[in-house]
Symmetry: C2
């Protein structure tokens, strides 16, 4: 899936529980937003369905209209956070004039997202234990999108290309690792200006990958 | 602390419980190695002191000779894994003829370590929740060592230098993030040759950071 393609997310609700009305969609969104706060603050084991419904100001029954269990809403949340990162970054990728500019702008945009949504780290990181499949899928699909952009850049002669079959994958995981750790240190733990941080990292990426 | 300096680790035992004999040191090591397997396979909440003592073939009382609790041995393990990564990589850094060669060799060496000790990921990653202070300290000290090496390389004219005060920190966290994610994808999940993976990533790092 290309990050440039418009995404039509399937519902995050449990099987057979997808909302059928716009009002239902809004309630589902309210529950997911409350789940971000609940799991982001209390973690998966301490977090509870009651905590989520209280934060969302919905009845317990309303929760079960959309989700089967705490595990189900957590898994939905991992997919939701993954989609929100992708959607946050997509416009800057679409606006970029070349591949490396795209990656540069994507990093800055990601750092801004991490600063505004610090709970994303706790949720994705805890998914390694609470939802290992969702955790792996988040990183594999994110890296696959970066690798596809690098491949396109190589085809256009904008990115340094070798004949190694794994080059774009390795480069994609390297870029993703940089982004994740820079976000943790400088957007979640620290208060540095995302533009400054991205500027330094992007010089490295540009020099490192240019054709 | 420089990664090139010989390290004299303080005991990983709980306060007042450091072993006083070589035999005691060996028993402590046996308990830590068993704890790697126990927490690496079962995680922190499922892992138990009894599980550790059974794996180590020591009596329960022997465990308490060195550690106060499950939390204490987990925290010791995080420090221990952090020290082992550092010690594994130290010789290649010492043998390197310049800064960027050092970082290149360090990456390859780290990937080999991750391949041989896959549990390190589960333990360090779970520390974010079970021992947040140890988690943060592991990454902050690792990045500080990389940043110190880059600063030394900049002073020698081997590494591109700017007048930004945070440049070496940003570069260090970027390199660390690359290493961690490449290790997860290609050494823990995948079976790619560490030399091939490091070769591709190192080209990026060298081009990205050279003076």
């Amino acid at each position: 899936m290309s990050a440039n393609a418009p995404t039509e997310p399937t519902s995050q609700a449990s099987a057979g529980k997808a909302p059928r009305t716009a009002r239902g969609e809004r309630t589902l969104r309210k529950i997911l937003d409350a789940a971000i706060d609940e799991f982001g603050e209390r973690g998966f084991s301490e977090g509870s369905i009651v905590g989520i419904t209280q934060r969302a100001r919905v009845a317990l029954g309303t929760f079960y209209t959309y989700f089967d269990s705490k595990e189900a809403v957590f898994k939905a949340l991992v997919r939701d956070m993954s989609a929100r990162v992708r959607e946050h970054v997509a416009p800057v990728l679409m606006a970029a004039t070349d591949t490396l500019e795209g990656e540069e702008k994507a990093l800055e945009s990601y750092l801004q997202f991490a600063r505004a949504h610090k709970q994303v780290y706790r949720i994705i990181d805890e998914a390694e234990f609470a939802d290992p499949q969702g955790f792996e899928e988040h990183y594999r699909t994110t890296a696959a999108r970066i690798a596809a952009r690098l491949e396109a850049g190589k085809a256009k002669g904008e990115v340094f290309a070798t004949n190694s079959k794994i080059a774009s994958d390795v480069e994609a995981w390297a870029i993703m690792g940089m982004n994740v750790f820079l976000g943790l240190r400088f957007a979640v733990w620290g208060k540095e200006n995302p533009k400054d941080v991205a500027g330094i990292a992007n010089r490295m990426i540009r020099q490192g990958l240019q054709a």
